[in-house]
């Protein structure tokens, strides 16, 4: 379970103990967010696909621990990658840094980078595949809001077919005996292979088309965007779009401890009037990006054990 020099590429590479370890260190970081434990260390951020939010939270995490950063956030304005293979780019850049954070539009790019680099590589999103620090941040937020991570009742709502976030989170959660409620339009159901995996692991779950059916049962409501582009027929989109907008008046039957999460940015999935209820937790979730990334960076650099 030693993290030093380890690559963080896929949530599936992490054991239950690994996950618990990261959560524990993140809790420590949350209590003590500014430290000097990474003084003299350099993190390179290679963002072949722009994602300002993710990049800034990585950079902030590094700087608050006393480290330095270099890299690029938009491959168009850099010549570093021109005509060069990802393998070669990684080989070259690793000489300048102690840890690499990579985001790429192709699936598997982070794995390839990790094979090329001797320094640890952290995947900050590879196409539609993995974004393990996002998944860890979701787990951290769930634990923080409920005081535990085991035996919770969790609803995932929205586009469950294409949502990478939901798929990875479902996998990770299945280590912690959850009861899951998948709420989506028929056309955007959770994929068959995930349902199959859940059955194999004997995880309790059910599928719904209306969030109101489960509102009084759940501890967490994880909402995601429904994108117009996912619907071949626009009429189908028009039919479902208003069903999946969360409004304050729908929360009447919710348990006191129920918290709403969303990977943000939201479009119209959550009404603004939900923001000042005790259930809104998505801004806290966004803030958790820093302690969780601080934990992961300092673990792979050996500053935390």
């Amino acid at each position: 379970m030693n993290f030093k020099k380890r690559d963080i590429i896929s949530i599936e590479d992490l054991s239950k103990d690994d996950i618990l370890k990261i959560l524990k260190v993140a809790k420590k970081m949350e209590k003590n967010p500014v430290q000097n434990i990474l003084k003299g260390k350099i993190m390179a951020t290679l963002f072949f696909e722009p994602s300002t939010r993710t990049r800034l939270s990585f950079e902030s995490s590094m700087k608050r621990l006393g480290g330095e950063i270099l890299g690029f956030g938009n491959p168009k304005i850099t010549s570093v990658t021109k005509g060069e293979t990802l393998w070669d780019t990684t080989k070259m850049i690793q000489a300048y840094c102690d840890v690499i954070v990579i985001r790429h539009y192709l699936e598997g790019a982070a794995r390839l980078s990790a094979e090329s680099a001797d320094v640890p590589v952290i995947n900050a999103g590879d196409g539609s595949n993995q974004h393990p620090t996002q998944t860890m941040l979701d787990l951290f937020t769930i634990e923080q809001s409920q005081g535990k991570i085991k035996d919770l009742h969790i609803a995932m709502c929205g586009d469950l077919k294409y949502g990478r976030t939901v798929h990875s989170l479902t996998k990770a959660l299945s280590l912690f005996n959850p009861t899951l409620y998948f709420v989506s339009p028929d056309t955007l159901r959770i994929p068959g292979y995930i349902r199959h995996e859940l059955r194999t692991k004997k995880i309790k779950f059910s599928e719904h088309t209306d969030i109101n059916e489960v509102m009084n049962k759940i501890d967490i409501l994880y909402a995601t965007r429904i994108q117009k582009e996912r619907f071949p027929d626009l009429a189908d989109y028009e039919k479902v779009k208003n069903t999946y907008i969360l409004k304050k008046n729908m929360l009447g039957g919710a348990k006191d401890n129920m918290k709403i999460m969303h990977p943000l940015p939201r479009v119209n999935e959550i009404d603004n009037d939900v923001d000042d209820t005790k259930h809104a937790y998505y801004f806290q979730q966004a803030a958790n990006a820093v302690p969780i990334r601080q934990a992961i960076i300092s673990l792979v650099l050996g500053a935390e054990k």
Binding site: S10, E12, T85, L86, W87, H104, Y105, L106, E107, G108, A109, R111, L112, D126, G127, S128, N129, Q130, Y193
Partner: protein, 147 residues
């Protein structure tokens, strides 16, 4: 390719139960085209086990472990008969290795292996149906769909 040539050999290897249509691929990947051994291939035989099948016979040659693994990847249903003195001296099934690289491509067009000069790598995911998972993009495929 006449029938009697396909049927009896004195010494060598018979690769049987190749899924129909994959025989030429096996010949290609084993570099048998450039070989000086006598090679015969039969296509579309009826088989109770795999529907239609191809058969390849290589005279005076016994395949290496690497060659057998290659066969397993493109013809996972194949059986191998080692022929000595016109009799079957040994008979076994090939088995898809737990991990293998190269030979077949990932079918996901936005997989890094389809866009950069890097060898594909797969892991066996399930036995029946035989599924494999790309080590890079992590997508799972029915093995036959990749052939």
């Amino acid at each position: 390719m006449r029938a009697y040539k396909v049927y009896a050999i004195e010494e060598g290897t018979v690769i049987d139960h190749i899924e129909s249509g994959k025989g030429t691929k096996v010949i290609e990947l084993l570099n048998l085209k450039d070989s000086t051994d006598i090679i015969s291939m039969g296509m579309n035989f009826e088989s109770s086990q795999v529907g239609k099948k191809d058969i390849i016979k290589i005279e005076n040659r016994f395949l290496t472990k690497d060659e057998l693994n290659t066969i397993a990847i493109i013809a996972p249903t194949a059986t191998i008969n080692i022929i000595k003195k016109a009799k079957v001296a040994e008979k076994f099934k090939v088995e898809l290795p737990d991990e293998f690289q190269g030979i077949i491509k990932c079918r996901n067009p936005t997989c890094i292996t389809r866009n950069e000069p890097v060898k594909s790598k797969f892991k066996k995911f399930s036995e029946s149906p035989l599924k494999v998972r790309c080590k890079y993009c992590e997508k799972v495929f029915i093995h036959f769909e990749l052939l």
